[in-house]
């Protein structure tokens, strides 16, 4: 109990000099050392838990974005067939794709573009006429559309020699599995982090409460009802929990906001685009901010309820 702000010389409360005495000191001292330590513990744990929450949401959002990017694109491959003009087959395949319902954009890769795709393996200056290299058409699906890809595949194989359709299903499945694993792992870490936060907060609250045992006993002996005593401590510790939670959660929100702003500022640069490709926009979105706010409230409630439980336990030992 260090809430002893007083005149050093007289050991009195200056506000009472010459005035009517007033009983306005909180029954539970506000600025105790244990209270400040508890706020610090809550702030640190809430900050770490909020970072974990944000990271999980970031992974989930990025994984969903990768997946939808890949799923929005399909590739038509036209292999050279003896005695057939590959350019004509390519045009024919592109026409079929364009005419198919639900298809947005169809872009056949030119000879030069196809050569550039093979440059890393075959070197520059490549002439595709010399090699039986397949040609590709990138097809973007119209937003919101769900074209019947099986039908498109049938149309292509029936009408275009050497044509096949790759809807990236294998990639999407693999991507989905990877994203799901990442998110489940992240949620596991988050659960551990939240459990560690709650336990730390509960133990720190019990520690802070130990210094207040004398107050609990005195209140009990002068006839205060258990509900009154528990209420006093619960209110006090709810405020401490909210203070710590707001500091920690607020710092995490600020960090995410700054990271988001830096990400937006760096977009267009090579590094920024690389980061954006990996982590999306670095923004945790409204959902992320709401999750951090919920964490702050939960931490404060845990603090308050722990203090209530400790008071009740103390009262049980006093009686």
């Amino acid at each position: 109990m260090s809430d002893l702000r007083m005149d050093d010389e007289t050991g009195t409360r200056p506000r009472m000099s010459g005035l009517l005495p007033r009983a306005d000191t909180p029954i539970v001292p506000k600025n105790s050392i244990a209270g400040r330590a508890l706020v610090a513990v809550i702030a640190i744990m809430t900050f770490l838990a909020s970072l974990t929450t944000g990271a999980v949401m970031l992974i989930r959002a990025s994984a969903a974005e990768w997946e939808s990017d890949v799923a929005r694109e399909i590739t038509i491959q036209v292999r050279p067939v003896q005695g057939r003009d590959i350019e004509a087959e390519l045009r024919r395949a592109a026409e079929i794709a364009r005419a198919f319902p639900g298809v947005g954009e169809v872009r056949p890769y030119s000879k030069e573009e196809s050569a550039r795709l093979l440059e890393p393996w075959l070197g520059s200056g490549l002439t595709l006429d010399d090699l039986p290299v397949p040609r590709v058409i990138v097809v973007r699906i119209a937003p919101g559309a769900t074209p019947d890809l099986a039908q498109l595949r049938r149309n292509l194989t029936e009408q275009v020699a050497g044509a096949s359709l790759d809807d990236h299903r294998a990639w999407i499945d693999r991507m989905r599995a990877m994203a799901r694993t990442s998110v489940i792992g992240g949620i596991g870490v988050l659960i551990l982090m939240l459990a560690a936060t709650m336990l730390s907060v509960a133990f720190a609250t019990r520690g802070a409460m130990a210094t207040n045992r004398a107050i609990v006993e005195v209140l009990h002996f002068i006839g205060a009802k258990n509900g009154f005593i528990a209420g006093q401590f619960q209110r006090h510790f709810l405020v401490l929990g909210l203070q710590g939670g707001l500091i920690g959660g607020g710092a995490a929100i600020l960090l995410f906001a700054i990271a988001g702003a830096i990400g937006a500022w760096g977009s267009g640069t090579t590094g920024g685009d690389q980061l954006a490709a990996l982590f999306g926009t670095f923004s945790i979105g409204i959902e992320g901010y709401v999750a951090v706010l919920v964490q702050i409230v939960v931490v404060a409630i845990v603090t308050a309820l722990t203090s209530r439980r400790t008071v009740n336990r103390t009262l049980a030992t006093v009686e």
């Binding site: 109990m1 809430d3 002893l4 007083m6 007289t10 050991g11 009195t12 409360r13 009472m16 000099s17 009517l20 005495p21 007033r22 009983a23 000191t25 029954i27 001292p29 004398a214 107050i215 006993e217 005195v218 209140l219 009990h220 002996f221 002068i222 006839g223 205060a224 009802k225 258990n226 509900g227 009154f228 006093v318 009686e319």
Partner: protein
């Protein structure tokens, strides 16, 4: 070293008490006694009470005694005889392992927690170690019982100030306990114990930490409170103090009680 002037035993606080609430309480007690068919035989009634801590031996054995309203008694005995345990039983912070304890006509074993809290408000206790809250002023410490009852400060401020003046702490109302002398703390603790006009006042070694002069003044304070209608039990092993006032003695020895009226 006690620097404060001796408690000015102004008659005003006691007079207002005798003329007001104390008489009302006495009448209420009489009415209660009649309602119980005359079964209520005192403020405190112990019948064959035994107490043990855990699986240990009985520290109190077969205690049977009554404490009448408006009476004054010393509770004495050698150290370790069980004085504090007996006070705790009377103060409802312990339950007996056997026997019957009736406080103000109510069997304490059967009462619920909140009912015990309400009953506890009829009892004032002065702890040997004072138990003042260090972050609150003397005034706030003394006013605490009213605060926990949820009373409006305007309704009790005058009463608290008057009592503090009565016990000689009128100039120390704004002082915090860490800067009070032992005697001042003792008087503040007594003031807190009696401010809500308890019917029973229990004091555990109230003169244990003070010099003989102050011990005498504190005894006079208890006698005044008793005259104003409060039943007083003082636990002490100070023979000198007991010799100063002719009162009933409850002597504890090896866990058994001997009453000397």
């Amino acid at each position: 070293m006690e620097t404060q002037a001796p408690p000015a035993l102004s008659p005003s606080w006691t007079a207002s008490r005798v003329g007001g609430a104390a008489l009302g309480e006495a009448m209420l007690w009489q009415a209660n006694r009649a309602a119980n068919g005359g079964l209520e035989t005192g403020v405190v009634r112990f019948e064959n009470v035994g107490l043990r801590y855990g699986l240990g031996p009985e520290v109190l054995r077969d205690l049977s005694f009554h404490i009448e309203p408006n009476s004054f008694q010393f509770l004495t005995g050698p150290s370790g005889a069980g004085k504090t345990s007996l006070l705790r039983l009377m103060f409802l912070s312990l339950k007996p392992t056997r026997g019957l304890i009736s406080m103000f006509g109510k069997d304490v074993v059967t009462l619920r927690r909140d009912a015990l809290s309400v009953l506890r408000r009829r009892i004032g206790i002065v702890f040997q170690d004072f138990r003042l809250l260090d972050h609150m002023t003397t005034y706030e410490n003394v006013a605490l019982p009213f605060r926990v009852m949820g009373k409006d400060e305007d309704s009790y401020r005058g009463e608290v100030v008057e009592l503090l003046q009565w016990v000689g702490l009128g100039e120390r109302m704004a002082a915090l306990p860490p800067v009070l002398s032992g005697g001042e703390k003792q008087r503040a603790a007594i003031a807190r114990a009696v401010i809500a006009r308890p019917q029973l006042l229990l004091a555990d070694e109230p003169t244990g930490n003070v010099d003989p002069g102050l011990a005498q003044r504190l005894l006079r304070l208890f006698i005044e409170l008793n005259k104003s209608g409060t039943t007083v039990v003082i636990a002490t092993h100070d023979i000198g103090l007991m010799d100063q006032y002719d009162a009933r003695r409850l002597v504890l020895h090896e866990g058994r009680l001997h009453v000397y009226d």
